[in-house]
């Protein structure tokens, strides 16, 4: 039973990490959203599995929140935004796939090298989970700085948040209040992002942040 619990949790965590890698090289906004949905589903599955395996019912709430917010509400809302802004066909300039993958793999290596020695006396699952979630956070950051489109930056931010939830799920005894507040802050952030996207679009007729930068009186 323990073995299966460990393997399943590991599998789901690794799935979240894999989707983070997949996010890195998506050039179409819709496929980006689809991958993000898969990540949220995997995360929700991870939370539910932890709740089941460790008999911590409050983690079901986490799983439910993640499912409704991350896997349904936000992707749908972003879909609608993209449609209303008519940027379905935007091809986004990302870094070269090879380069991004190399950077991502080295970040994962870094977080494994960092987390494993630091948490020597924690359980194996916690250690693996922490390493995975730190990797997801770093990959999300990498995505935020390698993209120029505001929508994909929003997605990068959300995937950072996914990494945090993954850590919270993995570490036993994380209070529900913290998870709730994280969920709500993500909600608020999402609303603000949405409003800003429309405002930016109205003002500058584009969501390419390069164009916005030129309005600050500088040229790059």
């Amino acid at each position: 039973m323990i073995d299966i619990g460990y393997d399943a949790a590991h599998l789901l965590g690794a799935l979240v990490l894999m989707t983070s890698f997949a996010l890195l090289y998506q050039r179409r906004l819709f496929s980006l959203l689809n991958v993000f949905t898969i990540q949220a589903l995997a995360l929700s599955g991870a939370a539910a599995w932890q709740a089941y395996a460790h008999d911590e019912p409050h983690l079901y709430i986490t799983a439910l929140l993640t499912l409704t917010l991350k896997a349904i509400a936000i992707p749908v809302a972003l879909h609608r935004i993209i449609q209303r802004l008519h940027i379905e066909r935007t091809v986004e300039p990302a870094l070269g796939i090879g380069l991004t993958m190399v950077a991502g793999v080295s970040l994962v290596t870094l977080s494994i090298l960092l987390v494993l020695p630091v948490t020597e006396n924690a359980t194996a699952l916690t250690r693996e989970d922490l390493a995975l979630s730190l990797s997801v956070v770093l990959l999300g950051l990498l995505m935020m700085i390698s993209r120029r489109n505001a929508v994909s930056q929003v997605v990068g931010f959300m995937s950072i948040e996914n990494g945090l939830i993954l850590a919270a799920v993995g570490v036993a005894g994380m209070p529900l209040v913290v998870e709730m507040s994280i969920a709500f802050s993500v909600m608020v952030a999402f609303i603000i992002f949405g409003i800003f996207l429309f405002q930016i679009r109205e003002r500058f007729e584009t969501l390419d942040v390069r164009k916005i930068e030129s309005f600050r009186g500088e040229s790059d």
Binding site: L107, L110, L114, P117, L138, L141, I145, V209, R216
Partner: protein
């Protein structure tokens, strides 16, 4: 210890009095009288502690950081340096009282209402004294650094008390920056000393001295931190600007006493806290001291401002003290403690000597400033006729600082040379040769210092007045004369009977090097100063005094008998200076007196150039000699550093206008770097 606390509390209370009663006419008398009394008490306590040899006394005050408190401890070294502070405090209070009254009267007389010119001095003067005493008493790194910074800030405020003077704000800013730099170095040094244990008490540090690498770094940081306060070349640049800017009695304290507190910091850490020394610490200290001594006196020779000249001469004396400390470290490291005690005695004797004659000379400068209103040597002259008592006292000070027997400056340098002459006993060849070079540098510095003070005394007191103010000068008041007479008398006493004072601070020496300077001499006649030595030299101040007195009397009689009664004729154009010569400017000026030395050293060291502007025949303009020189410390160190800082600031400014993505990238990079560091350190 109770007496000490009472005196310290009194100093703090006097600061409150200085603020609260600043409008009343008696506040100056009250504050200066109070500081003199408090310093007298501190001095008495210190002498008692040194004579009684009753070991160290310690106390913990429940103030300051919660659960840590303030640890105080007074051993022989602290008591000795407290005595130096107390002597300086008493004389500076006495002189300062007369000095400020004279300036107030002058201000009333000329109708210019100074508007509390002395106001800013009164509250900070006792605080400055208290700060210096607390540094000497501190027994944990935390209270040491706080007192050190307190001392720096109060002295900075005292410098700023002359803020109406156009040069003062720049000098004060430079001082503040150097003080911050010095404290930063000390902070890091104590951080290394404490290590990871987190016990800031000196007792704990003494138990667990840092290992070799950290100790080397501590030595470096201490020399930089304490050196910047003491005036180590090239960190001396603030000293010739800030010391003269303060009122004269404060200048005397800053130059004569505060630099000694920095020396105390060096002694405390290098000899006490760091445990067993390594020979190259002393070597480095000696090299720095030799450069400081020679450069300091060369700076002094270049100056035309009396107080600035004295401040530069402080740099030279600090160099001499550092050389003696370095020698003591070297001998302590090579396990010849008696010679180390000899060198340390020379250092401590020079500490007390320099505090005496530098205070005296700064008081003389203050008296000159009071009487003539100027500090420019080229506007002085002939003061020996108008200020005869000051002139005699100034002569004692000048002779003492030039290391002429039988005054105290000679004894200090004589002891130092006894230690230097023992250098062949050392095992390291680099030290055997290096110490000989250092000895040559000390000799050069001493000779140049003599030239420097012949110049100061000759230009200011001899000859004829070079300005109307110098011609109108009168003798200063009794309080100021008494303030000068005490250190002058002590200069003579220490020169004639040095054995007593060396015996007095023997407990301090013993605490630092575990030996006394007279340990291997079974027979010690009280009047002969005969320390241990490979050569077996000895010094007797009384015989020297008698001989010099007899020879002087004989010389004076001979001159009167065979030279003075000759008929003297003066040529009509008056260059023989007989009668009423209209052109007092035809005398030697300060610049012309220094010209030979400026030519010999200044061309290479200071890039000094004399430019003579000779008008065409028939032109009625006077010919002009312009001397220009550059300070190597500024040219090669501080100006490049300032340029680099400006360049960095200009380029860092661009960080303010980056795009959001660039900021995110920077944060991301910083995060990755930190994580990598943690990963590397952990593995």
């Amino acid at each position: 210890m109770t007496l000490l606390f009472v005196a310290l509390l009194a100093l703090f209370a006097l600061a409150v009095v200085g603020v609260a009663a600043r409008r009343s006419p008696w506040v100056g008398t009250a504050v200066y009288g109070g500081t003199a009394t408090a310093c007298g008490l501190i001095g008495l306590w210190a002498v008692g502690a040194l004579v009684g040899r009753d070991g160290a006394v310690a106390a913990v005050l429940p103030i300051g950081v919660p659960w840590i408190g303030v640890h105080l401890r007074a051993d022989g070294v602290s008591a000795f340096f407290l005595l130096v502070v107390a002597l300086g405090g008493v004389t500076a209070s006495l002189f300062g009282w007369g000095y400020e009254r004279a300036h107030e009267q002058a201000a009333d007389h000329s109708g210019v209402h100074s508007g509390g010119e002395s106001g800013p001095v009164l509250p900070f003067f006792p605080l400055f004294l208290a700060g210096m005493s607390l540094v000497l008493l501190a027994n944990d790194a935390f209270s040491f650094l706080v007192s050190w910074e307190f001392m720096s800030l109060t002295s900075w405020l005292l410098v700023l008390s002359t803020h109406r003077d156009p040069d003062t704000p720049d000098a004060a800013r430079l001082y503040l920056m150097m003080a911050v730099l010095g404290t930063l170095c000390l902070l890091l040094a104590f951080g290394l000393l404490v290590g990871t244990g987190g016990d800031y008490r000196f007792d704990a540090i003494r138990q667990h001295p840092p290992e070799a690498g950290a100790a080397a770094l501590v030595v470096l940081l201490m020399v930089l931190g304490a050196g910047s306060k003491a005036g180590l070349v090239p960190l001396h640049v603030w000293l010739p600007l800030a010391h003269p800017a303060a009122p004269s009695h404060v200048s005397a304290l800053m130059s004569g006493v505060m630099t000694k507190v920095a020396v105390y910091a060096l002694v405390r850490v290098l000899f006490d806290l760091l445990g067993e020394p390594v020979w190259w610490w002393g070597g480095a200290l000696m090299a720095a001291g030799a450069v400081t001594a020679v450069m300091g006196v060369l700076y002094a020779l270049m100056q035309d401002d009396v107080k600035r000249l004295l401040a530069c001469s402080t740099i030279e004396n600090i160099g001499v003290i550092l050389i003696a400390l370095g020698l003591a470290l070297v001998f302590k490291a090579s396990h010849t403690p008696v010679i180390a005690a000899l060198a340390l005695s020379a250092a401590l004797l020079h500490v007390v000597n320099h505090s005496l004659f530098k205070s005296l000379l700064f008081f003389v400068a203050g008296a000159i400033l009071t009487a003539t209103g100027t500090r420019d040597l080229n506007r002085l002259g002939g003061l020996i006729h108008r200020m005869p008592t000051t002139a005699v006292l100034a002569l004692i000070g000048a002779a003492a600082i030039s290391a002429l027997p039988p005054l105290n400056g000679f004894v200090g340098e004589w002891l130092l040379f006894q230690a230097i002459l023992n250098a062949p006993a050392l095992p390291e060849w680099s030290l055997k040769i290096g110490i000989a070079v250092v000895g040559a540098a000390v000799a050069l510095a001493a000779a140049l210092a003599a030239a420097c003070f012949v110049r100061l005394y000759g230009i200011a007191f001899l000859g004829r007045p070079r300005s109307a103010e110098a011609g109108r000068a009168g003798e200063v008041g009794r309080a100021m004369l008494a303030g000068m007479a005490i250190p002058a008398a002590l200069c003579v006493a220490l020169g004639v009977l040095p054995t007593f004072v060396i015996r007095l601070f023997e407990p301090a020496v013993r605490a630092m090097v575990q030996a006394g300077p007279f340990d291997d001499r079974s027979y010690q006649p009280w009047i002969w100063l005969a320390p241990t030595s490979a050569i077996g030299n000895s010094y007797n101040g009384l015989i020297l005094l008698g001989m010099i007195a007899a020879l002087s009397v004989a010389l004076v009689l001979a001159i009167h008998r065979w030279a003075s009664d000759r008929v003297r004729r003066s040529i009509a154009w008056g260059c023989g200076h007989d009668g009423d010569d209209p052109a007092a400017l035809s005398q030697y000026s300060a610049s012309s007196f220094a010209q030979p030395i400026r030519r010999a050293f200044g061309g290479t060291v200071f890039n000094a150039r004399d430019r003579v502007e000779m008008p065409e025949p028939g032109d009625t303009r006077p010919a002009r000699l312009t001397v220009c020189w550059t300070d190597p410390a500024w040219a090669f160190l501080f100006t490049p550093v300032r340029r680099a800082v400006n360049w960095l600031a200009d380029h860092a400014d661009a960080l303010q206008f980056l795009t959001i993505r660039s900021y995110l990238t920077l944060m991301f990079a910083a995060l990755v770097v930190v994580l990598t560091l943690v990963a590397v350190v952990r593995s």
